[in-house]
Amino acid sequence: MTDENAWVLQAQQGNDDAFTQLVEAYQKPVYNLCYRMLGEPETAEDAAQETFLRAYQNLHRYDSSRSFGTWILSIAAHYCIDRLRKKKFSVFSMDAEDEDGTPFEVADPASPDPEAESVKKEDRNRLHLLLKDLDATDRAAVIMRYWYDYSEVEIAQSLKLTVSAVKSRLHRSRKALAGMWQEEKSRAHPERRSRESLAF
């Protein structure tokens, strides 16, 4: 039996310390999912905490034949989707922190290629902001696919969708992101865009 299974079993028997071990192990993936879904560190923290509380309250329903990680991420995704649907709109702050907890647009000067690093970071921030324009379920599917390497079957199980629905949602989202990305770029560099058009 793995440590994780042992913690789950002990937690199901009412051992709070064992559940704390699970929180320790899964805080990062759960927080990341909430952050990518909701866009702000404060709301993500709140959603991640709520996810663990829901998992704690429903631990007796957990089916040990499934992975605990998939189960808890599924709770987090559903919670965030519900929250976004209730809110109907989400406010993404440009003052938000990036994935390393550092402010936006700060490149590491010690990096071998700080400029390339800065561009990469900028691209990641831009994509993070574009995610907000996707439908809540599409956003969850994209996050599970690209941040957690989930297969289409795993995403379907987590989001209670069919595999074909997941496939079409992923394609639709990728196309939408590409469209928005293209628009952003042409807004940022209009002269380059017009030159490109002339070339065709």
Binding site: E45, H78, D123, K160, L177, A178
Partner: protein
């Protein structure tokens, strides 16, 4: 501009031959949309995990403790309100009878005894009637009818159990 098959390759992250890669590169240079698709795919594939602020677990423990206290308090209040409500309802229903009982207890005692006697004799009569029916009916009903009767009862019982189970399943929160 025709994006096929390049769009499919990019969306499915397909394995492509060097020749196809060359065609794709040529298309990407000409097509801004597919180029954006390729760029977003690249950024997504290098996506990084966000980390919570230090002390997440401790904050969770504090929140859990708070939630437990709130839950206990809510249960206590619920029980107190339920008991109080029950008492008020009981007093409201029993009040008039209690007043008349206190005014003339002898009348009430005779009424209660009369009711008890009535219930007792009715029960005895029902038991006797039941015994007579049970001794007569089996002679009139063929074994096949008994089989149908018991199968119907079993079927209804099974349907009831399945319905309860399905309702219980539906009650689970999403994602759990």
């Amino acid at each position: 501009m025709n994006h096929l098959p390049f769009e499919e390759w990019l969306l499915n992250n397909s394995r492509i031959t060097p020749e196809q890669q060359r065609d794709l590169d040529l298309h990407l240079r000409a097509c801004a949309y597919c180029s954006a698709l390729a760029e977003t795919g690249k950024v997504l594939s290098t996506a990084k995990m966000a980390t919570p602020a230090p002390g997440f677990t401790m904050r969770f423990q504090a929140r859990l403790a708070e939630r437990k206290i709130a839950e206990r308090r809510r249960k206590l209040w619920g029980a107190a309100l339920f008991t109080l409500g029950g008492l008020v309802l009981l007093m409201w229903m029993v009040g008039p009878y209690l007043a008349s009982f206190i005014a003339s207890p002898a009348t009430w005692i005779s009424v209660v005894v009369g009711w008890l006697v009535f219930i007792g004799t009715t029960l005895f009569a029902l038991v006797d009637a039941g015994a007579v029916i049970l001794s007569i009916v089996p002679k009139f009903l063929p074994p096949f009818a008994w089989l149908v009767l018991f199968s119907t009862f079993a079927g209804v019982g099974l349907l009831w159990s399945v319905s309860i189970w399905r309702f219980a399943q539906r009650g689970a929160p999403q994602g759990v």
